[in-house]
Symmetry: C2
Subunit: 324 residues, 2 copies
Protein backbone atom coordinates (compact mmCIF):
# COMPACT_ATOMS: atom_id res chain seq x y z
CA UNK A 1 0.00 0.00 0.00
CA UNK A 2 1.01 3.66 -0.24
CA UNK A 3 -0.28 7.11 0.62
CA UNK A 4 -1.60 9.21 -2.27
CA UNK A 5 -3.78 12.23 -2.91
CA UNK A 6 -7.13 11.08 -4.26
CA UNK A 7 -10.32 12.96 -5.08
CA UNK A 8 -13.81 12.44 -3.63
CA UNK A 9 -15.60 13.17 -6.91
CA UNK A 10 -14.74 16.25 -8.98
CA UNK A 11 -14.92 19.83 -7.83
CA UNK A 12 -13.36 22.50 -5.67
CA UNK A 13 -10.22 22.05 -3.57
CA UNK A 14 -12.13 20.28 -0.80
CA UNK A 15 -12.44 17.12 -2.92
CA UNK A 16 -8.70 16.54 -2.43
CA UNK A 17 -7.87 13.98 0.28
CA UNK A 18 -5.01 11.71 1.33
CA UNK A 19 -5.80 7.99 1.09
CA UNK A 20 -4.12 4.60 1.35
CA UNK A 21 -4.18 2.85 -2.03
CA UNK A 22 -2.31 -0.04 -3.67
CA UNK A 23 1.27 0.59 -4.74
CA UNK A 24 1.63 0.46 -8.56
CA UNK A 25 3.44 -2.55 -10.07
CA UNK A 26 6.08 -1.81 -12.74
CA UNK A 27 5.54 -3.33 -16.20
CA UNK A 28 8.22 -4.25 -18.72
CA UNK A 29 10.95 -1.60 -19.02
CA UNK A 30 9.38 0.33 -16.17
CA UNK A 31 11.09 1.45 -12.98
CA UNK A 32 9.41 1.71 -9.58
CA UNK A 33 10.33 5.07 -8.09
CA UNK A 34 9.91 6.08 -4.45
CA UNK A 35 8.71 9.65 -4.78
CA UNK A 36 10.20 12.41 -2.62
CA UNK A 37 8.50 15.40 -4.23
CA UNK A 38 6.00 16.31 -6.93
CA UNK A 39 4.93 19.71 -8.28
CA UNK A 40 1.73 21.36 -9.42
CA UNK A 41 0.65 22.11 -12.96
CA UNK A 42 -2.40 23.98 -14.13
CA UNK A 43 -3.65 20.75 -15.65
CA UNK A 44 -3.88 19.35 -12.11
CA UNK A 45 -6.59 21.84 -11.13
CA UNK A 46 -8.49 21.04 -14.33
CA UNK A 47 -8.21 17.32 -13.66
CA UNK A 48 -9.49 17.88 -10.12
CA UNK A 49 -12.54 19.61 -11.59
CA UNK A 50 -13.12 16.75 -14.04
CA UNK A 51 -12.22 18.92 -17.04
CA UNK A 52 -9.00 17.13 -18.05
CA UNK A 53 -9.26 13.36 -17.72
CA UNK A 54 -6.00 11.38 -17.77
CA UNK A 55 -5.14 9.78 -21.13
CA UNK A 56 -5.91 6.07 -21.59
CA UNK A 57 -3.55 3.86 -19.59
CA UNK A 58 -2.42 6.65 -17.24
CA UNK A 59 -2.85 6.65 -13.47
CA UNK A 60 -6.01 8.31 -12.11
CA UNK A 61 -3.91 10.00 -9.45
CA UNK A 62 -3.19 13.69 -10.15
CA UNK A 63 0.43 14.76 -10.73
CA UNK A 64 2.44 15.16 -13.94
CA UNK A 65 5.96 14.98 -12.51
CA UNK A 66 8.05 13.74 -9.65
CA UNK A 67 11.49 13.43 -8.15
CA UNK A 68 12.57 10.46 -6.09
CA UNK A 69 14.87 7.48 -5.84
CA UNK A 70 14.86 4.24 -7.77
CA UNK A 71 13.13 1.72 -5.45
CA UNK A 72 14.25 -1.45 -7.27
CA UNK A 73 17.19 -1.63 -9.70
CA UNK A 74 16.30 -1.95 -13.40
CA UNK A 75 19.08 -2.17 -15.99
CA UNK A 76 21.51 0.68 -15.43
CA UNK A 77 19.17 2.41 -12.97
CA UNK A 78 20.50 1.33 -9.57
CA UNK A 79 18.39 1.25 -6.43
CA UNK A 80 18.69 4.58 -4.60
CA UNK A 81 19.65 6.56 -7.73
CA UNK A 82 18.20 10.09 -7.58
CA UNK A 83 15.89 10.62 -10.57
CA UNK A 84 13.23 12.96 -11.90
CA UNK A 85 10.58 12.44 -14.58
CA UNK A 86 7.48 13.69 -16.30
CA UNK A 87 4.45 11.47 -15.74
CA UNK A 88 1.16 11.03 -17.55
CA UNK A 89 -0.35 10.91 -14.05
CA UNK A 90 0.32 9.58 -10.55
CA UNK A 91 2.73 12.17 -9.14
CA UNK A 92 0.83 12.95 -5.92
CA UNK A 93 1.73 9.58 -4.39
CA UNK A 94 4.52 7.73 -2.61
CA UNK A 95 5.36 5.51 -5.58
CA UNK A 96 5.10 5.67 -9.35
CA UNK A 97 6.09 3.35 -12.17
CA UNK A 98 8.01 5.11 -14.94
CA UNK A 99 9.34 3.96 -18.36
CA UNK A 100 13.10 3.62 -17.88
CA UNK A 101 13.82 5.88 -20.89
CA UNK A 102 11.81 8.70 -19.28
CA UNK A 103 14.08 8.92 -16.23
CA UNK A 104 16.50 11.81 -15.87
CA UNK A 105 19.30 11.86 -13.26
CA UNK A 106 19.00 14.74 -10.78
CA UNK A 107 22.03 17.09 -10.87
CA UNK A 108 24.05 16.66 -7.65
CA UNK A 109 23.64 20.25 -6.54
CA UNK A 110 19.83 20.12 -6.41
CA UNK A 111 17.59 18.77 -3.62
CA UNK A 112 14.55 16.64 -4.39
CA UNK A 113 12.31 19.68 -3.84
CA UNK A 114 14.38 21.96 -6.04
CA UNK A 115 14.53 19.34 -8.80
CA UNK A 116 10.76 18.86 -8.54
CA UNK A 117 10.44 22.26 -10.22
CA UNK A 118 12.12 20.88 -13.35
CA UNK A 119 10.49 17.99 -15.24
CA UNK A 120 7.10 19.09 -16.63
CA UNK A 121 7.89 22.80 -16.89
CA UNK A 122 11.36 22.54 -18.36
CA UNK A 123 10.67 19.67 -20.73
CA UNK A 124 7.53 21.44 -21.97
CA UNK A 125 9.59 24.61 -22.40
CA UNK A 126 12.33 22.75 -24.24
CA UNK A 127 9.75 21.01 -26.42
CA UNK A 128 7.89 24.11 -27.53
CA UNK A 129 10.87 26.44 -27.96
CA UNK A 130 13.36 24.11 -29.66
CA UNK A 131 11.69 20.84 -30.65
CA UNK A 132 8.62 22.53 -32.18
CA UNK A 133 9.33 26.24 -32.80
CA UNK A 134 12.96 25.58 -33.84
CA UNK A 135 14.13 28.70 -31.98
CA UNK A 136 17.56 29.92 -33.11
CA UNK A 137 20.10 32.42 -31.70
CA UNK A 138 19.21 36.09 -32.30
CA UNK A 139 15.54 35.31 -32.90
CA UNK A 140 12.95 37.20 -30.88
CA UNK A 141 10.46 35.29 -28.77
CA UNK A 142 7.32 36.43 -26.94
CA UNK A 143 6.55 34.36 -23.84
CA UNK A 144 3.13 34.81 -22.24
CA UNK A 145 2.75 34.12 -18.52
CA UNK A 146 6.46 34.70 -18.09
CA UNK A 147 6.40 34.09 -14.33
CA UNK A 148 4.69 30.71 -14.57
CA UNK A 149 6.51 27.40 -14.22
CA UNK A 150 6.87 26.97 -17.98
CA UNK A 151 7.46 30.70 -18.45
CA UNK A 152 10.42 30.90 -16.06
CA UNK A 153 11.96 27.85 -17.76
CA UNK A 154 11.36 29.38 -21.21
CA UNK A 155 13.06 32.65 -20.30
CA UNK A 156 16.18 30.86 -19.06
CA UNK A 157 16.33 28.38 -21.97
CA UNK A 158 15.84 31.14 -24.53
CA UNK A 159 18.61 33.26 -23.01
CA UNK A 160 20.90 30.20 -22.71
CA UNK A 161 20.59 29.74 -26.49
CA UNK A 162 20.96 33.41 -27.38
CA UNK A 163 17.41 34.48 -28.22
CA UNK A 164 15.90 37.87 -27.39
CA UNK A 165 13.06 37.53 -24.89
CA UNK A 166 9.88 39.51 -24.27
CA UNK A 167 7.39 38.34 -21.63
CA UNK A 168 3.95 39.27 -20.40
CA UNK A 169 2.93 38.93 -16.76
CA UNK A 170 0.46 40.48 -14.32
CA UNK A 171 2.37 42.50 -11.69
CA UNK A 172 5.40 44.71 -11.12
CA UNK A 173 6.85 42.00 -8.90
CA UNK A 174 6.57 39.41 -11.63
CA UNK A 175 8.07 41.81 -14.19
CA UNK A 176 11.13 42.31 -11.98
CA UNK A 177 11.30 38.57 -11.43
CA UNK A 178 11.27 37.86 -15.18
CA UNK A 179 13.89 40.54 -15.85
CA UNK A 180 16.12 39.00 -13.19
CA UNK A 181 15.85 35.69 -15.01
CA UNK A 182 17.09 37.40 -18.18
CA UNK A 183 13.99 38.72 -19.97
CA UNK A 184 14.94 41.64 -22.23
CA UNK A 185 11.45 43.12 -22.06
CA UNK A 186 8.71 42.56 -19.46
CA UNK A 187 5.17 43.79 -20.09
CA UNK A 188 2.41 44.09 -17.49
CA UNK A 189 -0.66 42.93 -19.40
CA UNK A 190 -2.92 44.50 -16.79
CA UNK A 191 -1.64 48.04 -17.41
CA UNK A 192 -0.03 47.97 -20.87
CA UNK A 193 -0.83 46.84 -24.41
CA UNK A 194 1.66 44.16 -25.36
CA UNK A 195 0.84 44.83 -29.01
CA UNK A 196 2.36 48.31 -28.83
CA UNK A 197 5.35 47.19 -26.77
CA UNK A 198 6.14 44.34 -29.14
CA UNK A 199 5.93 46.69 -32.12
CA UNK A 200 8.62 48.82 -30.46
CA UNK A 201 10.55 45.57 -29.85
CA UNK A 202 10.54 45.00 -33.65
CA UNK A 203 7.97 42.20 -33.58
CA UNK A 204 8.79 38.61 -32.67
CA UNK A 205 9.69 35.48 -34.64
CA UNK A 206 8.13 33.13 -32.12
CA UNK A 207 5.04 33.41 -29.90
CA UNK A 208 4.74 30.86 -27.08
CA UNK A 209 1.12 31.08 -26.13
CA UNK A 210 -0.71 29.50 -23.18
CA UNK A 211 -3.45 32.16 -23.28
CA UNK A 212 -5.31 31.56 -26.56
CA UNK A 213 -8.45 33.42 -27.58
CA UNK A 214 -7.99 36.67 -25.58
CA UNK A 215 -4.61 37.38 -27.14
CA UNK A 216 -5.26 36.00 -30.61
CA UNK A 217 -5.51 39.25 -32.52
CA UNK A 218 -2.63 40.91 -30.71
CA UNK A 219 -0.41 37.85 -31.18
CA UNK A 220 -1.05 38.00 -34.93
CA UNK A 221 -0.06 41.65 -34.83
CA UNK A 222 3.09 40.88 -32.83
CA UNK A 223 4.42 38.08 -35.01
CA UNK A 224 6.86 38.64 -37.88
CA UNK A 225 7.15 37.06 -41.33
CA UNK A 226 7.59 33.25 -41.15
CA UNK A 227 6.65 33.41 -37.47
CA UNK A 228 6.00 30.27 -35.47
CA UNK A 229 3.13 30.58 -33.03
CA UNK A 230 2.88 27.72 -30.59
CA UNK A 231 -0.38 27.31 -28.67
CA UNK A 232 0.07 25.04 -25.66
CA UNK A 233 -2.72 26.30 -23.42
CA UNK A 234 -5.95 28.28 -23.51
CA UNK A 235 -6.05 30.01 -20.12
CA UNK A 236 -7.62 33.02 -21.88
CA UNK A 237 -10.34 31.06 -23.64
CA UNK A 238 -10.32 28.69 -26.57
CA UNK A 239 -13.00 30.11 -28.86
CA UNK A 240 -11.69 32.76 -31.26
CA UNK A 241 -14.46 34.80 -32.87
CA UNK A 242 -12.74 35.95 -36.04
CA UNK A 243 -9.63 34.54 -37.66
CA UNK A 244 -8.32 36.13 -40.83
CA UNK A 245 -6.56 33.48 -42.87
CA UNK A 246 -5.33 36.26 -45.15
CA UNK A 247 -3.75 37.91 -42.10
CA UNK A 248 -1.98 34.65 -41.25
CA UNK A 249 -0.91 34.10 -44.88
CA UNK A 250 0.44 37.63 -45.25
CA UNK A 251 2.99 36.69 -42.57
CA UNK A 252 3.26 33.03 -43.61
CA UNK A 253 2.47 32.13 -40.00
CA UNK A 254 2.66 28.56 -38.71
CA UNK A 255 0.08 28.14 -35.95
CA UNK A 256 1.08 24.97 -34.14
CA UNK A 257 -1.02 23.53 -31.33
CA UNK A 258 0.53 21.05 -28.94
CA UNK A 259 0.24 19.21 -25.67
CA UNK A 260 2.91 17.10 -23.96
CA UNK A 261 0.90 14.77 -21.76
CA UNK A 262 -0.99 13.09 -24.60
CA UNK A 263 2.16 12.22 -26.58
CA UNK A 264 3.35 8.65 -27.08
CA UNK A 265 5.97 7.14 -24.77
CA UNK A 266 8.36 7.04 -27.74
CA UNK A 267 7.91 10.75 -28.46
CA UNK A 268 8.57 11.58 -24.82
CA UNK A 269 11.65 9.33 -24.70
CA UNK A 270 13.09 11.06 -27.82
CA UNK A 271 12.38 14.49 -26.39
CA UNK A 272 13.96 13.64 -23.04
CA UNK A 273 17.03 12.20 -24.78
CA UNK A 274 17.48 15.47 -26.67
CA UNK A 275 16.88 17.49 -23.48
CA UNK A 276 19.69 15.56 -21.77
CA UNK A 277 22.08 15.53 -24.75
CA UNK A 278 21.69 19.27 -25.34
CA UNK A 279 23.61 20.07 -22.15
CA UNK A 280 20.61 21.23 -20.12
CA UNK A 281 21.53 19.10 -17.07
CA UNK A 282 25.09 20.45 -17.13
CA UNK A 283 23.71 23.98 -17.12
CA UNK A 284 21.68 23.13 -14.00
CA UNK A 285 24.77 21.53 -12.42
CA UNK A 286 26.78 24.69 -13.15
CA UNK A 287 24.08 26.96 -11.79
CA UNK A 288 23.50 28.66 -15.15
CA UNK A 289 19.93 27.39 -15.16
CA UNK A 290 17.86 27.58 -12.00
CA UNK A 291 14.69 25.65 -11.16
CA UNK A 292 12.26 28.22 -9.77
CA UNK A 293 10.61 26.95 -6.62
CA UNK A 294 7.93 29.30 -5.30
CA UNK A 295 6.66 27.42 -2.27
CA UNK A 296 6.56 23.91 -0.84
CA UNK A 297 3.54 22.19 0.71
CA UNK A 298 3.20 18.85 2.44
CA UNK A 299 0.92 16.19 1.00
CA UNK A 300 -1.70 17.04 3.63
CA UNK A 301 -1.63 20.67 2.49
CA UNK A 302 -2.43 19.81 -1.13
CA UNK A 303 -5.71 21.79 -1.05
CA UNK A 304 -3.81 24.94 -0.03
CA UNK A 305 -1.34 24.29 -2.85
CA UNK A 306 -4.18 24.09 -5.40
CA UNK A 307 -5.76 27.21 -3.94
CA UNK A 308 -2.49 29.11 -4.36
CA UNK A 309 -2.16 28.01 -7.98
CA UNK A 310 -5.72 29.11 -8.75
CA UNK A 311 -4.99 32.54 -7.27
CA UNK A 312 -2.30 32.92 -9.92
CA UNK A 313 0.07 34.67 -7.54
CA UNK A 314 3.03 32.35 -7.80
CA UNK A 315 6.30 33.09 -9.61
CA UNK A 316 7.66 29.65 -10.43
CA UNK A 317 6.63 26.22 -9.27
CA UNK A 318 4.50 25.10 -6.36
CA UNK A 319 6.06 21.90 -5.00
CA UNK A 320 4.39 19.10 -3.09
CA UNK A 321 6.64 17.30 -0.62
CA UNK A 322 5.71 13.63 -0.50
CA UNK A 323 8.33 12.51 2.05
CA UNK A 324 8.33 14.97 4.94
Amino acid sequence: MMRAVTTAGFGDIDVLQVSEIPRPIPGENEVLVKIHASALNRADTLQRKGLYPPPPGASNIIGLECTGEVAESVGSWASGKRVMSILSGGGYAEYATIPSDHLIPIPDNLSYEEAAAIPEGWITAYQILFYIAKGKPQEKVLIHAGASGVGTALIQLAKLKGLLVAVTCGSQEKMDFCRNLGADLAINYKTESFKEKIRDFGGVDIVLDCIGANYFEDNLDAINLDGRWIIYGTMGGHQVNQVSLRGLMAKRVSLITTTLRSRSKEYKADLIKEFINDGILDAFQNGILKPILYRTFSMEEVALAHELMEKNENSGKIVLKIIS
Copy 2:
Protein backbone atom coordinates in the same frame (compact mmCIF):
# COMPACT_ATOMS: atom_id res chain seq x y z
CA MET B 1 11.94 46.10 -77.26
CA MET B 2 9.62 43.13 -76.85
CA ARG B 3 5.95 42.23 -76.97
CA ALA B 4 4.22 41.70 -73.61
CA VAL B 5 0.75 41.57 -72.14
CA THR B 6 0.11 44.76 -70.19
CA THR B 7 -2.97 46.09 -68.42
CA ALA B 8 -4.85 49.35 -69.04
CA GLY B 9 -5.66 49.94 -65.38
CA PHE B 10 -7.14 47.19 -63.23
CA GLY B 11 -10.37 45.36 -63.87
CA ASP B 12 -12.14 42.79 -66.01
CA ILE B 13 -10.51 40.81 -68.82
CA ASP B 14 -10.83 43.73 -71.26
CA VAL B 15 -7.98 45.58 -69.51
CA LEU B 16 -5.54 43.01 -70.93
CA GLN B 17 -3.69 44.18 -74.04
CA VAL B 18 -0.53 43.37 -76.01
CA SER B 19 2.06 46.19 -76.03
CA GLU B 20 5.65 46.87 -77.05
CA ILE B 21 7.81 47.53 -73.99
CA PRO B 22 11.54 47.55 -73.19
CA ARG B 23 13.27 44.20 -72.94
CA PRO B 24 14.48 43.51 -69.36
CA ILE B 25 18.24 43.67 -68.70
CA PRO B 26 19.75 40.81 -66.67
CA GLY B 27 21.47 41.70 -63.40
CA GLU B 28 24.28 39.81 -61.70
CA ASN B 29 23.78 36.03 -61.74
CA GLU B 30 20.69 36.49 -63.88
CA VAL B 31 19.99 34.85 -67.23
CA LEU B 32 18.05 36.46 -70.08
CA VAL B 33 15.53 33.90 -71.33
CA LYS B 34 13.64 34.09 -74.62
CA ILE B 35 10.20 32.91 -73.58
CA HIS B 36 8.31 30.35 -75.69
CA ALA B 37 5.36 29.75 -73.38
CA SER B 38 3.88 30.87 -70.08
CA ALA B 39 0.89 29.56 -68.12
CA LEU B 40 -1.96 30.99 -66.07
CA ASN B 41 -2.31 30.96 -62.31
CA ARG B 42 -5.23 32.16 -60.23
CA ALA B 43 -2.99 34.89 -58.85
CA ASP B 44 -2.84 36.32 -62.40
CA THR B 45 -6.54 37.13 -62.40
CA LEU B 46 -6.24 38.73 -58.96
CA GLN B 47 -3.26 40.80 -60.12
CA ARG B 48 -5.25 41.92 -63.18
CA LYS B 49 -7.99 43.15 -60.83
CA GLY B 50 -5.44 44.98 -58.67
CA LEU B 51 -5.98 42.64 -55.71
CA TYR B 52 -2.53 41.02 -55.71
CA PRO B 53 0.26 43.50 -56.41
CA PRO B 54 3.67 42.05 -57.38
CA PRO B 55 6.21 41.89 -54.54
CA PRO B 56 8.87 44.65 -54.36
CA GLY B 57 11.46 44.31 -57.11
CA ALA B 58 9.31 42.05 -59.30
CA SER B 59 8.18 42.85 -62.85
CA ASN B 60 4.78 44.55 -63.20
CA ILE B 61 3.97 42.19 -66.07
CA ILE B 62 1.61 39.35 -65.11
CA GLY B 63 2.90 35.77 -65.28
CA LEU B 64 4.46 33.53 -62.60
CA GLU B 65 6.22 31.01 -64.83
CA CYS B 66 7.71 30.42 -68.25
CA THR B 67 9.52 28.05 -70.54
CA GLY B 68 12.01 29.20 -73.14
CA GLU B 69 15.60 29.15 -74.28
CA VAL B 70 18.64 30.82 -72.81
CA ALA B 71 19.16 33.98 -74.93
CA GLU B 72 22.72 34.73 -73.81
CA SER B 73 25.08 32.20 -72.18
CA VAL B 74 25.72 32.65 -68.44
CA GLY B 75 28.05 30.24 -66.61
CA SER B 76 26.96 26.68 -67.38
CA TRP B 77 23.71 27.83 -68.99
CA ALA B 78 24.54 27.83 -72.72
CA SER B 79 22.70 29.92 -75.25
CA GLY B 80 19.77 27.95 -76.71
CA LYS B 81 19.44 25.64 -73.68
CA ARG B 82 15.78 24.72 -73.07
CA VAL B 83 14.77 25.89 -69.58
CA MET B 84 11.74 26.49 -67.39
CA SER B 85 11.30 28.58 -64.25
CA ILE B 86 9.00 30.10 -61.70
CA LEU B 87 8.95 33.91 -61.79
CA SER B 88 7.90 36.57 -59.32
CA GLY B 89 6.32 38.26 -62.37
CA GLY B 90 6.93 38.94 -66.05
CA GLY B 91 5.89 35.65 -67.66
CA TYR B 92 3.45 37.10 -70.22
CA ALA B 93 6.28 38.56 -72.32
CA GLU B 94 8.89 37.64 -74.93
CA TYR B 95 11.82 37.93 -72.52
CA ALA B 96 12.44 37.57 -68.81
CA THR B 97 15.51 37.81 -66.58
CA ILE B 98 15.82 34.90 -64.17
CA PRO B 99 18.29 34.12 -61.32
CA SER B 100 20.53 31.37 -62.69
CA ASP B 101 19.84 29.09 -59.72
CA HIS B 102 16.10 29.22 -60.45
CA LEU B 103 16.45 27.66 -63.90
CA ILE B 104 15.40 24.06 -64.48
CA PRO B 105 16.30 22.13 -67.64
CA ILE B 106 13.27 20.97 -69.62
CA PRO B 107 13.08 17.15 -69.95
CA ASP B 108 13.80 16.18 -73.61
CA ASN B 109 10.44 14.51 -74.14
CA LEU B 110 8.41 17.64 -73.38
CA SER B 111 7.59 20.54 -75.71
CA TYR B 112 7.78 24.14 -74.52
CA GLU B 113 3.98 24.22 -74.14
CA GLU B 114 3.84 20.94 -72.22
CA ALA B 115 6.64 22.05 -69.91
CA ALA B 116 4.87 25.38 -69.34
CA ALA B 117 2.38 23.43 -67.22
CA ILE B 118 5.14 22.51 -64.79
CA PRO B 119 6.99 25.30 -62.91
CA GLU B 120 4.55 27.16 -60.65
CA GLY B 121 2.08 24.32 -60.14
CA TRP B 122 4.57 21.53 -59.57
CA ILE B 123 7.03 23.48 -57.47
CA THR B 124 4.17 24.79 -55.32
CA ALA B 125 2.89 21.22 -55.01
CA TYR B 126 6.33 19.90 -54.11
CA GLN B 127 6.81 22.71 -51.62
CA ILE B 128 3.57 22.24 -49.71
CA LEU B 129 3.45 18.43 -49.73
CA PHE B 130 7.09 17.61 -48.97
CA TYR B 131 9.00 20.76 -48.00
CA ILE B 132 6.31 22.02 -45.59
CA ALA B 133 3.89 19.19 -44.73
CA LYS B 134 6.68 16.55 -44.66
CA GLY B 135 4.41 14.01 -46.36
CA LYS B 136 5.58 10.42 -45.93
CA PRO B 137 4.68 7.09 -47.60
CA GLN B 138 1.40 5.55 -46.36
CA GLU B 139 0.13 8.86 -45.00
CA LYS B 140 -3.29 10.05 -46.11
CA VAL B 141 -3.65 13.43 -47.78
CA LEU B 142 -6.73 15.48 -48.66
CA ILE B 143 -6.25 17.70 -51.72
CA HIS B 144 -8.87 20.36 -52.38
CA ALA B 145 -9.41 21.53 -55.97
CA GLY B 146 -7.92 18.27 -57.19
CA ALA B 147 -8.35 19.14 -60.88
CA SER B 148 -6.53 22.47 -60.64
CA GLY B 149 -2.98 23.03 -61.82
CA VAL B 150 -1.55 22.52 -58.35
CA GLY B 151 -4.10 19.81 -57.58
CA THR B 152 -3.17 17.60 -60.55
CA ALA B 153 0.52 17.99 -59.64
CA LEU B 154 -0.21 17.14 -55.99
CA ILE B 155 -2.10 13.97 -56.88
CA GLN B 156 0.77 12.69 -59.02
CA LEU B 157 3.52 13.66 -56.56
CA ALA B 158 1.65 12.11 -53.65
CA LYS B 159 1.13 8.84 -55.51
CA LEU B 160 4.78 8.84 -56.71
CA LYS B 161 5.85 8.90 -53.06
CA GLY B 162 3.33 6.32 -51.85
CA LEU B 163 0.73 8.44 -50.06
CA LEU B 164 -3.01 7.74 -50.10
CA VAL B 165 -4.91 10.50 -51.87
CA ALA B 166 -8.40 11.95 -51.47
CA VAL B 167 -9.46 14.95 -53.57
CA THR B 168 -12.40 17.30 -53.80
CA CYS B 169 -13.56 18.75 -57.13
CA GLY B 170 -16.73 20.10 -58.73
CA SER B 171 -17.92 17.71 -61.47
CA GLN B 172 -18.14 14.05 -62.45
CA GLU B 173 -15.70 14.77 -65.27
CA LYS B 174 -13.12 16.20 -62.86
CA MET B 175 -13.61 13.27 -60.48
CA ASP B 176 -12.84 10.82 -63.28
CA PHE B 177 -9.90 12.94 -64.29
CA CYS B 178 -8.44 12.92 -60.77
CA ARG B 179 -8.98 9.17 -60.41
CA ASN B 180 -7.14 8.62 -63.68
CA LEU B 181 -4.22 10.58 -62.27
CA GLY B 182 -4.15 8.19 -59.31
CA ALA B 183 -6.49 9.67 -56.68
CA ASP B 184 -7.77 6.90 -54.38
CA LEU B 185 -10.93 8.83 -53.53
CA ALA B 186 -12.61 11.66 -55.45
CA ILE B 187 -15.41 13.68 -53.85
CA ASN B 188 -17.80 16.02 -55.67
CA TYR B 189 -18.13 18.91 -53.24
CA LYS B 190 -21.25 20.12 -55.04
CA THR B 191 -23.22 16.93 -54.32
CA GLU B 192 -21.45 15.27 -51.38
CA SER B 193 -20.16 16.15 -47.89
CA PHE B 194 -16.40 15.63 -47.89
CA LYS B 195 -16.54 15.42 -44.10
CA GLU B 196 -18.52 12.20 -44.22
CA LYS B 197 -16.46 10.72 -47.05
CA ILE B 198 -13.17 11.48 -45.29
CA ARG B 199 -14.46 9.90 -42.09
CA ASP B 200 -15.07 6.70 -44.07
CA PHE B 201 -11.55 7.14 -45.51
CA GLY B 202 -10.20 7.03 -41.91
CA GLY B 203 -9.40 10.75 -41.70
CA VAL B 204 -6.30 12.33 -43.21
CA ASP B 205 -2.84 13.21 -41.90
CA ILE B 206 -2.42 16.16 -44.25
CA VAL B 207 -4.90 18.72 -45.63
CA LEU B 208 -3.70 20.81 -48.59
CA ASP B 209 -6.11 23.69 -48.61
CA CYS B 210 -6.55 26.45 -51.20
CA ILE B 211 -10.18 27.05 -50.14
CA GLY B 212 -9.94 28.46 -46.61
CA ALA B 213 -12.92 29.74 -44.64
CA ASN B 214 -15.73 27.72 -46.29
CA TYR B 215 -14.08 24.40 -45.50
CA PHE B 216 -12.50 25.30 -42.17
CA GLU B 217 -14.78 23.35 -39.87
CA ASP B 218 -14.93 20.29 -42.11
CA ASN B 219 -11.16 20.29 -42.54
CA LEU B 220 -10.73 20.25 -38.77
CA ASP B 221 -13.13 17.31 -38.64
CA ALA B 222 -11.24 15.50 -41.42
CA ILE B 223 -7.76 15.82 -39.98
CA ASN B 224 -6.17 13.22 -37.72
CA LEU B 225 -3.93 13.51 -34.66
CA ASP B 226 -0.70 15.42 -35.41
CA GLY B 227 -2.21 16.53 -38.71
CA ARG B 228 -0.52 19.15 -40.88
CA TRP B 229 -2.98 21.54 -42.50
CA ILE B 230 -1.39 23.73 -45.14
CA ILE B 231 -3.32 26.80 -46.27
CA TYR B 232 -1.97 28.15 -49.55
CA GLY B 233 -5.05 29.91 -50.89
CA THR B 234 -8.42 31.30 -49.79
CA MET B 235 -10.65 30.78 -52.81
CA GLY B 236 -13.51 30.05 -50.40
CA GLY B 237 -13.04 33.14 -48.26
CA HIS B 238 -10.44 34.16 -45.71
CA GLN B 239 -12.50 35.19 -42.68
CA VAL B 240 -13.28 32.26 -40.38
CA ASN B 241 -15.89 32.71 -37.67
CA GLN B 242 -15.54 30.76 -34.43
CA VAL B 243 -12.30 28.84 -34.40
CA SER B 244 -11.94 26.43 -31.50
CA LEU B 245 -8.32 26.36 -30.35
CA ARG B 246 -9.30 23.45 -28.10
CA GLY B 247 -10.46 21.60 -31.21
CA LEU B 248 -7.10 22.22 -32.86
CA MET B 249 -5.18 21.25 -29.68
CA ALA B 250 -7.16 18.05 -29.21
CA LYS B 251 -5.65 16.89 -32.51
CA ARG B 252 -2.33 18.72 -32.02
CA VAL B 253 -2.90 20.31 -35.43
CA SER B 254 -0.26 22.42 -37.16
CA LEU B 255 -2.01 25.07 -39.27
CA ILE B 256 0.64 26.36 -41.63
CA THR B 257 -0.04 29.23 -44.01
CA THR B 258 2.23 29.75 -46.98
CA THR B 259 2.76 31.47 -50.29
CA LEU B 260 5.52 30.79 -52.81
CA ARG B 261 5.74 34.04 -54.74
CA SER B 262 6.71 36.19 -51.75
CA ARG B 263 9.62 33.97 -50.70
CA SER B 264 13.24 35.06 -50.94
CA LYS B 265 15.37 34.13 -53.96
CA GLU B 266 17.47 31.93 -51.67
CA TYR B 267 14.44 30.00 -50.44
CA LYS B 268 13.28 29.43 -54.01
CA ALA B 269 16.76 28.32 -55.11
CA ASP B 270 16.93 25.77 -52.25
CA LEU B 271 13.44 24.48 -53.04
CA ILE B 272 14.23 24.14 -56.75
CA LYS B 273 17.47 22.32 -55.96
CA GLU B 274 15.58 19.81 -53.85
CA PHE B 275 12.88 19.48 -56.54
CA ILE B 276 15.57 18.58 -59.08
CA ASN B 277 17.62 16.33 -56.78
CA ASP B 278 14.57 14.36 -55.67
CA GLY B 279 14.25 12.74 -59.09
CA ILE B 280 11.18 14.69 -60.21
CA LEU B 281 12.67 15.59 -63.61
CA ASP B 282 13.59 11.95 -64.25
CA ALA B 283 10.01 10.97 -63.50
CA PHE B 284 8.82 13.48 -66.13
CA GLN B 285 11.44 12.14 -68.56
CA ASN B 286 10.20 8.57 -67.98
CA GLY B 287 6.58 9.57 -68.39
CA ILE B 288 5.69 8.60 -64.79
CA LEU B 289 4.71 12.22 -64.09
CA LYS B 290 2.66 14.13 -66.64
CA PRO B 291 2.25 17.89 -66.92
CA ILE B 292 -1.46 18.48 -67.39
CA LEU B 293 -2.11 20.94 -70.16
CA TYR B 294 -5.78 21.84 -70.54
CA ARG B 295 -5.71 24.33 -73.39
CA THR B 296 -3.29 26.65 -75.16
CA PHE B 297 -3.98 30.27 -76.16
CA SER B 298 -1.89 32.72 -78.17
CA MET B 299 -0.70 35.94 -76.56
CA GLU B 300 -3.45 37.84 -78.39
CA GLU B 301 -6.05 35.50 -76.86
CA VAL B 302 -4.96 36.22 -73.27
CA ALA B 303 -8.38 37.66 -72.34
CA LEU B 304 -10.06 34.41 -73.39
CA ALA B 305 -7.52 32.49 -71.33
CA HIS B 306 -8.36 34.56 -68.23
CA GLU B 307 -12.07 34.14 -68.89
CA LEU B 308 -11.66 30.37 -69.03
CA MET B 309 -9.74 30.32 -65.72
CA GLU B 310 -12.42 32.40 -64.02
CA LYS B 311 -15.11 29.98 -65.22
CA ASN B 312 -13.30 27.29 -63.25
CA GLU B 313 -13.93 24.66 -65.89
CA ASN B 314 -10.37 23.64 -66.64
CA SER B 315 -8.71 20.39 -65.54
CA GLY B 316 -5.03 21.23 -65.50
CA LYS B 317 -3.14 24.21 -66.78
CA ILE B 318 -4.10 26.94 -69.24
CA VAL B 319 -1.01 27.76 -71.29
CA LEU B 320 -0.13 30.98 -73.08
CA LYS B 321 1.97 30.52 -76.20
CA ILE B 322 4.34 33.46 -76.52
CA ILE B 323 6.09 32.32 -79.73
CA SER B 324 3.45 31.20 -82.22
